[in-house]
Symmetry: C2
Subunit: 438 residues, 2 copies
């Protein structure tokens, strides 16, 4: 293996470089388990993140370590994998190498898989980012938790909390799964968990406003399930405002439908754009930055380069692009791995990639979920049980499954939240800023 060496030694196995240790990258590596190749997996962080539960870290139900696992450990037994914590900065398609920050030498590949996922997109308003943090990385989840808990700490310190509604008004932009799940978690937090924690401020005053330009919540579900989820959210006290795009986000709050809403807690649960893999490659992308790949997930003209998951634009059988969900990334990663394996071992090529949609799930608060799989539609407590089982199953490690199950059971029964720690001291935030106090 020649990470730092510009020349590949002769008689070494083909070198497969995977960029990204998310669902797509991990599945690619696993599919190459028994293939005589050297896999090099590069990621900026040392952990695989189970993103579907990230909102629970933000909501104080789970700890960072419950939903993140060292990539090194996940692939520990697979001896043909070399894992490196590294920031990729570019790709040279002709020299077949990947550039990495702060390293003299590039990393050479025989096969390259780009599985770098997506990042937050503010629809051309990058200036909104500082007022409305998103929820993509583990750091985001921990920061968002601090932001939410600090808002209540600040409200408690006011002589007259009611006079500062911007402290306890939450605006969630985007009514997709993340936005709806976060809104449900927040609603329960203020109505149950925090109920007895404050002396001056009544957490029940909290306003949670869920905003989307689309005409319904959770548009990936059928309209009747969307409707049920929306009713459930409203029952829990969430104000759902559909059909209006956000016009402005600033230090005071947001403007929507011409109305200004004062809020210091604007959370960006909306649009994502692909990571810069398309720019690295210098190839054609769609407006969201996704790379237009061939039916076998390779980059046209470069059969040794695969793009999988949120970074790839793949057209499904209904003519629409496949959604940016974990299932697509996992299936794509597995397909890319099997394709490489077939080529290395001299088998006939696989048929084009076909996505099998196992269904859709979203949970609203602690005992309601909606589920849609083929013709099956389910809403309510049973769907929530299915949701919980599936998510626990997909946690990669046995121990985490157990801890998460226990914490959920505990949270469910006691209505408490086990993980309500603000890691930073007050000096980093502005909890005590009462200069605006009225």
């Amino acid at each position: 293996m020649s990470l730092g060496n510009p020349y590949k030694a002769q008689n070494t196995p083909p070198q497969v470089v995977i960029v990204g240790g998310g669902c797509g990258g991990i599945e690619t590596a696993r599919a190459l388990r028994d293939t005589p190749v050297q896999v090099i997996l590069l990621d900026r962080v040392n952990h695989y993140l189970f993103q579907a539960l990230l909102y629970q870290v933000a909501g104080g139900m789970l700890d960072a370590g419950d939903i993140a696992f060292p990539i090194r450990e996940v692939l520990q037994k697979q001896k043909n994998v070399f894992v490196a914590q590294a920031e990729v900065t570019g790709v040279d398609k002709e020299k077949r190498c990947v550039y990495v920050s702060r390293r003299k030498h590039p990393v050479y590949y025989d096969y390259l898989i780009l599985a770098t996922g997506a990042q937050g997109s503010y629809f051309g308003h990058d200036e909104w980012a500082k007022f409305a943090p998103g929820l993509k990385t583990l750091r985001d989840g921990i920061s968002l938790r601090s932001k939410i808990l600090r808002a209540f700490e600040r409200a408690e310190l006011q002589e007259n909390p009611e006079s500062r509604p911007e402290l306890f008004t939450f605006v969630l932009v985007g009514a997709g799964p993340t936005g709806c799940e976060m809104a449900g978690a927040l609603a329960e937090m203020v109505r149950h968990t925090l109920k007895s924690d404050f002396r001056r401020f009544d957490p029940g005053l909290t306003r949670i406003i869920l905003v989307d330009a689309a005409p319904r919540v959770l548009p990936s579900f059928s309209p009747d399930l969307s409707e049920k989820a929306c009713i459930r959210l409203e029952k829990m006290g969430v104000e759902v405002r559909l059909g209006h795009a956000i016009e402005e986000i600033d230090a005071e709050g947001v403007i929507i439908g011409g109305e200004r809403i004062r809020s210091l807690n604007v959370l960006w649960m909306a649009g994502v754009k692909a990571s810069p893999a398309g720019q690295w490659l210098g190839v054609e992308t769609d407006r969201a930055g996704r790379v237009k790949v061939a039916p076998d997930l390779t980059v046209p003209g470069y059969p040794e380069i695969f793009v999988v998951g949120d970074t790839a634009l793949v057209i499904g059988k209904d003519g629409k692009p496949l959604p940016g969900v974990a299932q697509v990334a996992m299936q794509g990663g597995g397909y890319a791995g099997r394709t490489i394996s077939g080529r290395v071992t001299g088998q006939s090529p696989l048929p084009p990639f076909k996505y099998f949609d196992k269904g859709n799930l979203a949970t609203i608060g602690r005992n309601y979920a909606i589920l849609e799989s083929g013709k099956l539609k389910l809403a309510g407590f049973m769907a929530n049980l299915v949701w919980a089982l599936i998510h626990i199953y997909f946690l990669l490690q046995k121990e985490d499954r157990f801890v998460v199950f226990f914490k959920w059971a505990f949270n469910y029964i006691t209505q408490r939240r086990s993980s309500r720690i603000i890691e930073e001291p007050v000096m980093c935030g502005n909890t005590l800023d009462d200069t605006k106090e009225k």
Copy 2:
């Protein structure tokens, strides 16, 4: 209650301000449970930290949320307590008020308890701080974990790891409980947990050097137990160097006994000094900054101000100052609370504070501990069981007890570590810096 109001309303209960939500502060608040007073507890962070297990967060055995609990939740049921996340900046003994950063108004008190703990002290060499991080706050624990794991990530990325011993040489300064427990945890981590995780770098190469100017490790124990702990550490591969003070710490490593040791991983497990409470008060302190208190833990001349825990200098019956341990803080806090309660309800004063030493415990790795209580001395696996039981008992919340117990059992059986996440991406660190590669 008048947090932000400079004038105390008439006919309101006496106001007790507690600064610090550690063992001392929490016990003071609890002792005032049934007393007709208004308690205001101020802390920079929103959590109580179980410091005795902080080294396990640094060592990747536990998560932040396992050993930290929201102060608000701990005191949730005690209705006469108001908790505020606030940074105290000074005290006015004559006006009887506490100044808080970024607030217009001070907080007035009838009784004041300063339980602000200790902070790292570099023996007059503050310039060492940036090379040798300490272990006092939750943030310290998380940062130290990242530093340790990053060192191995960097070693793995070298073409020839053996040529960069400074990457995997750890120097722990201070052979008290924190230093010894951390050394034991590190030794096990490299010999068991990380054994199969790397491809180029052999974690078994790691050097762990424990340094102290004192002639023996764990000087708070009797010499024979110290000796046993030392032998155990050496058996685990820790190099123990006693009787030599650190002469220099810089970007390259340390100098000790005239010898330079190259190390990028110097950890400060040594000296603490009291928090600046003595400066706030403008009263007499010892060299470590501890306030010289009267036998009833009050500040001479100010019977309404109590100082408890690491911030106070209290002389024990053996004529020596009481050590900076949790037991002293808890007993001091309870005593201060009961004294105030007695005064408010008009009872006769308590006898002077007397510390009852329940004993001393330290653990070395996963199945060895030493224990000393009165004439009882124990070393080995049984002492480790006692250690585990006592620490689980003192975790404040039922759920955390269960999770910690489960994680310990899991770590013990599998020799894995459940919490090996580096929260920040590589860009914040310098994992990939190979410019010095040889």
